[in-house]
Symmetry: C5
Subunit: 94 residues, 5 copies
Amino acid sequence: MEIMQAEDTLVCTNRSPGLQHMSLWVLRDRNGKPQVAVDPVGVRPGNWVFTMSGSAARHATGNFEVLTDLTIGGIIDFWEAENDQPTGNTVATG
Amino acid sequence: MEIMQAEDTLVCTNRSPGLQHMSLWVLRDRNGKPQVAVDPVGVRPGNWVFTMSGSAARHATGNFEVLTDLTIGGIIDFWEAENDQPTGNTVATG
Amino acid sequence: MEIMQAEDTLVCTNRSPGLQHMSLWVLRDRNGKPQVAVDPVGVRPGNWVFTMSGSAARHATGNFEVLTDLTIGGIIDFWEAENDQPTGNTVATG
Amino acid sequence: MEIMQAEDTLVCTNRSPGLQHMSLWVLRDRNGKPQVAVDPVGVRPGNWVFTMSGSAARHATGNFEVLTDLTIGGIIDFWEAENDQPTGNTVATG
Amino acid sequence: MEIMQAEDTLVCTNRSPGLQHMSLWVLRDRNGKPQVAVDPVGVRPGNWVFTMSGSAARHATGNFEVLTDLTIGGIIDFWEAENDQPTGNTVATG
């Protein structure tokens, strides 16, 4: 699963019926590359999240028939973008 | 799901029967790399779209038997290529 | 689906029985990276092709039991490697 | 399967119910890129592990219904990060 | 399918039971990046091989229940690492 930051919702009037009424978000990975994900969790702009890809993405929406290949799996409680590490935990990288 | 720009249709006289009569498009990602996708949505050259990959791509054509690994999922209403962001929305990337 | 150029067949005396008697080809992507694909279409060296990956690759051989993750989906009628674009078509990339 | 180093657990209060009670870890690949994986093996910070992705990741948790796309498959007994090779084995790379 | 070179076996005392008793190998891609694969073919250090990924990797072990995402599909008879091409064949890359 990848770590990304939620940016904003994505407006697509003409879209696949397979996405149903799921909310679409633009996420950014650590290199700034944009990705589009379905959000079943309820993120807000600026949140750090992790995402599931592949067939797990469909299951993770709670409805296997939602046709996504990327779904937000959870919001990370503490994440420091500057040094790309979790915060509030002791980090040991022997 | 990835964000790409539709360029042109792709002509392949000799192609897999598994693609049926679906229209094939050349898309470009943000680095200019070409990709080929099936278009069930009806795009036009220059449109910014998002794409589904993997097994979701087959479902997204509306017919699971269409043998694609990349399908256009929708046309993005507003997208600014220059700064790689949605437009017409307030963007917060705390 | 990706765009690649057919180079030559690949000889592997010791190979998985799951590939059956399918012909194997070395393809090159635009960066020159070699990939190995199954060819149900009948390509010739130098042809530009597009390829299907993942589970679509197995279906595209015409026999889901052929164990490939990359299959040639079709031969592109016109492709200009120099500028990485289709030829013989009007290209608009507004 | 990829080789990565375990860094720390990841705390996500708001996460997909599909992950059940599995422990989440931040792993680093050889370029330092963070990834999130489910850990059914019992790793410790600093361990070198290999990971399974895709649908194998779900099976590897021991419960196909756990919605992950990356699972730790095992702890490597000997691995030298400096020269990126196994240790304690004779290495021949003709 | 990707082309890689077999380096050495990988010793993991603590590993997923889903891998059963399959032999694990460290392979290197052309950039030297290590990957871990299951070997049903019987490779030797220094062999050039091609690999299957995704769900094809599980089938290619001869037992779909082996939880791998990368399996060696065959040993290449002739491969020149220097110029990254098959040898013993006439290569035409019009």
